[in-house]
């Protein structure tokens, strides 16, 4: 279709494009460009093929670069064609059923209804103010408006140019420049970043203040069947019959006592379990008292009202604990620390020494013991050097018979024992444990106060042989005390090692011991 607006339609015989138009169109160059574009695209596709076949990773930078080039080229070609396409009108050559209906609409020069209304609306808008005036005035007014708009545009351009210069932008830079973030924004972002990183890595900013640590009443489904909230809104732990403690926060604190509480049966409970130690070298026999660990003491106080009768009943100490509660509490921390450094060697002599004076030679332990000493004069200090302490005090295993000894052992002693026993359930312990465990499994079980009725006293300091103490001297102690039933005077070092692991088996003090163990252990290596 060759028509040119200005000239009358040439005779339709020779269908040749008007030469002027033809020049404008520049068909030749267009063709070359299109062909080269097609080649470039083909090349890219080949590259991809190769990538796929050889399974190499493509270099994204290069590919993106090629893409953008191709894109640009295509855009330019289309622009060119658009420029001259005004001269052409596309008409269907043949009228057939398909286009018969639409043809008149296509050919009509009348605007589509929507376009027409659009046109009218625009015209309205334009001639709003000047409709009433005579035509020449209208023209003038419109001209004035146009001038004003032109002036405004010019000003805007000038301002843009000025700002560009001020910011050092090139005249043609535009969006490719790095967007500058003002200081305020950058600071805000940095602050947010710090918050976020800290929250993820450390939990800073996500911790709830202690007074807000109420467990939500509606637990999410994945926790609903795992945690049980008891009446007081705390998490109920195994072994706790009712609130263990009333600390506002999560019952973790309560949980700490779980073992203890479990271990500490109500007073009358374990009366039937105790029997005098038949072993000569058991601390019991010697009148040494297994002073409950300070932890127990504390527990005691808290659970006193509780009639917890867990299977860990073996902690008869609870009576003792009541006695020593106060002292133990204070001593707890200090003794823990003191014990950490205590040496084991003294442990060996523990056995068989019924009346061993409380050894305050270990300075570290002194403090803890000093207080109880005051309180309990009858304290027959076993050699409660750090390690030994454990022996003397089995946490739960004081049977009523030992009560008399309770006084003798200061809370500090207990704590010393416990702390030493605690040590860290390091891996060293574990191997020991396993080795030990294998040896006397059955008796060991007993020792570990499996039954509430048999308070086990771990006496055999002998057990605390060097083998046991790898890093922390204390490690052993715990074990010995805890579970040793009176029968087991044999070195129950094994037990000690086991504390870390034992926990699972032993219901009694074990948890306490273990924790102390853990504590100790950690101290020692560090």
């Amino acid at each position: 279709m060759e028509t040119q607006p200005q000239q009358p339609p040439p005779p339709p015989v020779a269908e040749k494009l008007n030469p002027k138009l033809e020049k404008e169109l520049n068909l030749e160059s267009l063709k070359t460009r299109a062909v080269s574009l097609a080649k470039a695209i083909a090349r890219i596709l080949e590259d991809f093929d190769a990538y796929g076949r050889t399974n190499t990773t493509p270099k994204w930078q290069d590919i993106l670069g090629q893409y953008s080039m191709v894109n640009l080229e295509l855009f330019n070609i289309v622009e060119e064609v658009k420029r001259v396409s005004n001269a052409f009108v596309v008409l269907p050559k043949n009228v057939n059923a398909m286009n018969a209906a639409i043809l008149p609409v296509m050919l009509s020069s009348k605007l589509l209804p929507e376009m027409e209304t659009d046109d009218n609306a625009k015209r309205e808008q334009l001639l709003q103010g000047v409709q009433s005036l005579p035509i020449p005035m209208q023209i003038e007014r419109l001209k004035a408006r146009m001038d004003m708009i032109a002036a405004a545009c010019e000003n805007a351009e000038r301002v843009l140019a000025d700002t560009r210069k001020a910011y050092g932008f090139g005249t043609r830079q535009g969006p490719s420049m790095l967007p500058t973030m003002d200081k305020g924004q950058a600071a805000k972002i940095q602050e947010q970043e710090k918050m976020l990183r800290d929250a993820v890595n450390d939990g800073k900013g996500t911790q709830l203040p202690p007074d807000q640590r109420q467990i939500t009443t509606a637990l999410p489904p994945h926790l609903a069947d795992v945690l049980i909230i008891n009446d007081a809104g705390k998490i109920a732990l195994p072994g706790q019959s009712n609130n263990i403690n009333n600390q506002g926060m999560m019952q973790v604190s309560g949980t700490q006592f779980v073992g203890r509480s479990a271990a500490s049966p109500s007073g009358p409970n374990f009366d039937n379990t105790t029997s005098p130690l038949p072993y000569s070298n058991s601390p019991r026999a010697t009148g040494m008292v297994n002073v409950p660990s300070p932890q127990h003491q504390i527990q005691q106080q808290q659970f006193q009202q509780q009639q917890q009768r867990s299977k860990l009943m073996q902690l008869p100490q609870h009576q003792q604990q009541q006695l020593l509660a106060q002292q133990q509490q204070q001593l707890r921390q200090s003794s823990m620390q003191g014990l950490g450094q205590s040496q084991i060697p003294a442990l060996h002599d523990m056995h068989g020494q019924a009346q061993q004076k409380f050894q305050t030679s270990h300075g570290q332990h002194q403090m803890p013991y000093s207080q109880p000493m005051g309180a309990h004069q009858q304290f027959q200090a076993r050699q409660l050097s750090g390690g030994h302490i454990q022996h003397s005090m089995s946490q739960g295993q004081l049977n009523p018979a030992m009560n008399r000894h309770l006084n003798q052992f200061s809370g500090g002693a207990n704590s010393a024992l416990f702390t030493s026993a605690q040590g860290s359930p390091s891996s060293q312990m574990i191997p020991n444990m396993s080795s030990m465990q294998s040896q006397t499994l059955v008796p060991r079980m007993q020792q570990f106060g499996v039954s509430g009725t048999n308070p086990q006293r771990s006496h055999s300091s002998q057990m605390l042989g060097d083998q046991m103490f790898n890093t922390s001297g204390m490690m052993q102690t715990q074990q010995t005390q805890i579970q040793q039933s009176q029968q087991q005077q044999q070195q129950q070092q094994q037990q000690q090692g086991g504390y870390g692991n034992m926990q699972t088996n032993q219901q009694s003090l074990q948890p306490n011991n273990m924790m102390q163990n853990a504590q100790q252990r950690h101290q020692n290596p560090q």
Binding site: V200, M250, Q519
Partner: protein
């Protein structure tokens, strides 16, 4: 695998979709939804003077929540570590049953903080088994109130790239991770955790080009 190589970065929430597209193209795997309730416990004084930390992660995305216990150690230090651009640290994790939570409470661990991380992750193999996760970090107004969690930083999400390693191969794994991170450079700066990097200034442009259908003007 007792160690891990890890880098972290931040990205503005508005660019997260673009990052997802980029990762999809780079990793070649399907993205996985991420919805993890992370509980961080610190041991109480009864467990030792020096407190230790352990994390329990509950994957809420599965029909049955799965629990994992994880211990993260301190990073490797020294001149060698300084030369590596990723952080190498001990990390031990294991699947556990849901009773782990109660057990930790019973042991005397106190809940130090908890987070809910919601987002997506890609796990793929590229010399090493690399995991990239992009998630918003949420905190809870009440203990365990997962449904009421609010973002710590609404406009910003965290990008984690981790790969398990052993003491023998950590340097290769570190190299794999850092070379992968280069691909993400247009959108996010990655660095060792605890080191601030800021956002990428040109992220907006990169995101726009990723989101568009060709990057060119429409014809």
């Amino acid at each position: 695998m007792s160690m891990e190589c890890v880098v972290q970065g931040i990205i503005e929430t508005q660019h997260v979709e673009a990052l997802e597209i980029l990762l999809q193209g780079l990793c070649g795997v399907q993205r996985e939804r991420l919805r993890v309730h992370e509980l961080c416990f610190k041991s109480g004084p009864n467990l030792g003077v020096v407190s230790s930390e352990v994390r329990l992660l509950c994957d809420l995305d599965q029909p049955e929540p799965t629990w994992t216990v994880k211990h993260v150690g301190g990073p490797m230090r020294g001149a060698g570590a300084d030369q590596i651009s990723v952080m190498v640290r001990t990390m031990i994790e294991s699947k556990v049953s849901k009773n782990a939570l109660r057990m930790f409470y019973a042991l005397g661990y106190k809940l130090d903080h908890e987070l809910l991380k919601v987002g997506f992750a890609f796990h793929f193999q590229r010399t090493a088994h690399i995991s990239v996760s992009v998630s918003s970090v949420n905190k809870m107004p009440k203990v365990h109130a997962v449904d009421e969690a609010v973002p710590v930083t609404p406009g910003m999400q965290i990008v984690d790239v981790t790969a398990p390693a052993t003491p023998e191969n950590y340097s290769e794994v570190a190299a794999a991770v850092s070379s992968f991170c280069e691909f993400l450079a247009p959108l996010v700066h990655l660095s060792k955790p605890f080191i601030s990097t800021g956002v990428v200034p040109t992220a907006a442009a990169a995101a726009a080009s990723l989101m568009s259908d060709g990057g060119g003007t429409t014809l």
